[in-house]
Amino acid sequence: MSGNQETATRPTKINIPESLSAQFYREAGAEKYGLTQQAFACVLEEVASKYLPGTASPSEISDFLTHLRVEELALARGCALGNETAWEIFLTRYREKLFNAAHSIVKGDANARELADSLYADLYGTRTAEGRRISKLNSFTGRGSLEGWLRAVLAQEYVNRFRRQQRSVSLEEQAEAGVQFEAEATDPTQAIDARLREATDQALISLSAEDKFILANYYLDGRTLAEIARLLGVHESTISRKVEKITAWTRKAIISGLMKRGMSRNEAEQTMEVEVTEISLDVRRRLMQEKGQQTVP
């Protein structure tokens, strides 16, 4: 996907047979959440249209809908409509979980409550447009559990709002404390060898998405093997072997790329271990740019 531009296209509307939508309507118990069969059918069509191609066969559509969390979907949409029963049930099931999820994301009761409460208003829909409540629950599609979706939304809120604030504050504090960022390198001999950059990029491009994901989690984010294993749904020992294998392969690929570009093996190995001050500058510059973007409403 990297480097490829995806053109934004309007999803093709998927039509769902009435018998099928009626079946899921019953299964979801959507009636008690204030949804009519027609309204729920529209919801199902909206979700199917979002994820399925226009050429999806009836069996593919049926299979897709079967794997949806239709009951939670009905509950979420009922809440978005302001249905009291739906909200009763939603609160009973998820309010405590929402707080617990916030607590696991942000340590400290006060921060967790602030995070949970900040989401609450969006879920309830305190804003209206054209007489219609704008509720974040309208975007729940039932692909995963509602609880998982709430956790993801909470995490997004946290990353978007709280982490950016911390990052910008830390940079300001550093500046005030007299920390000077390294000046841009003007001496070309300190610049990274273009051959090294090219060989590295080529090696990384050759990796599969999962391999890059593992490397990023392990080396950049500092996650443990167990955490990465949970993310991918495999055993921890599998991740252990993969990290070793991918790391070794990447080193070999970079050396091989450098040798193809005219270096000897010794030269390639030494070049590969060069300090990358220039790249560090790029990262800091990017952080500063992001900080500058935050001030733009």
């Binding site: 009951e71 950059r197 443990t224 093997l225 990447t250």
Partner: protein
Amino acid sequence: MARSGTTAHLPNHFMPGLPKIALARLRAKPGAPKSSGGPEGQAGSPSARHPDANLLAAFAEKTLTERERTRVLHHLATCADCREVAAFALPEEAAAAEPVRVAAGPRWSLSLVLRWGAMAAVLGTLAVVVVLHPGMWKGQQEISKITPPPAPAGYITSAPQTVSPSPSAPPPSETARAMAQGEPHASAGEMAASQKASGQRQDLALNDHVARNKAKQHVTLMEAVSPPATVRAENNPAANTEREEKKEGNALAAGDLPGAPAPSAPAAVTTAASEDATKASAGPQAVPAMMRATTQSVAVTGGSAGGISAGAAAAKSPPPAPSRASMRMTAQAPMDKVQAFRTGGDSEAGPPAALWSVASDGQVQRSTDGGKSFEQIPVAKGIKFHSIAALGNDVWTGGARGALFHSVDGGATWTRVALNFGGKSETITGIQLHDPQHLTLTTASGSQWVSEDGGQHWQKP
């Protein structure tokens, strides 16, 4: 950000790490800032489109198609923020179980095979010992717990008074022991028969004892397990999730950890509105006993100060009908009994504690029969309540326009508590009653107010 894990990282001496240039190029991949306003959380540029919460949640729960998963992985490989969101979106319960990926088959390492093989060998040896010496091991282990039936005259008993066998050594034969003790004994055949008979009797007694214990535990669990989940098709994951959530909700509501035996929960409720409310209201602290996030945005008019008792308010309106007349004024169980009841304590501790809830129409309800039935409790006319918390006879309920009422006699009479949220009148959507003196209110706007003197004074935390 790295969470704590069971295994940290690979030992460095096994392999050199990734070259710094590779780390830097991996980090320097484009990742535009995420938009925070839209519900989908997607940035504007298609090439930097972040997967929305639905996809990230589905990714964490392993419910994406292979193609979708690959696309999400491509993005996650280059976007640290989305990786963090995906990590946060992981369900907590997954930490207790080994993750299993359906696509890839399990790969067994040699050490695991050897470990399981050794365990199987030990179990096999123990099984052989038990088979060859039936009853003896059990007899010696359990004899202290069970009084064996008297042996027929002339036969020795298999009651080792002083012998405590070591786990590794097989228990000494009864015959040898009896002979060593010089006890009179019958012939070998008779002794063998008697041993077998007594061993069988002890086995039966033991089995009976164990079975009775198990039955007792089963009954206790059955009593504690929540009730009647709405039954849907078995193949609908949502139904299973709902059932699990209801059980868990009951456990959590009573303060127990998930997985622990759930405390006694209401077996049946009469109204649909009360069903889930019951689960929410279980718990002596009622945190949150029944919290209505919705809040109906009512016109702000300052609530009237002064104590308006429910009795006075009720006097102006015709008394509710039969429910009040038939109301059983049972004494509220004291705190410790309530706790015991909630945690599945002895049913002889006393009558079930009152359960409080707020119905969908804003009426306060109470159940004194463990949630089987609820009756409306008049508090104040014309006020729609949204939240309630109770600790024994101490009950607080809050609602629209800053209405807050307090009862110290289990709902018989109510006193209105004057509140002034900084000049605004807000709907109270949540009440936490930590103890009779310490309360926390949550309003519709998300504000919190704390009292440390039983509601006389309030301040922001």
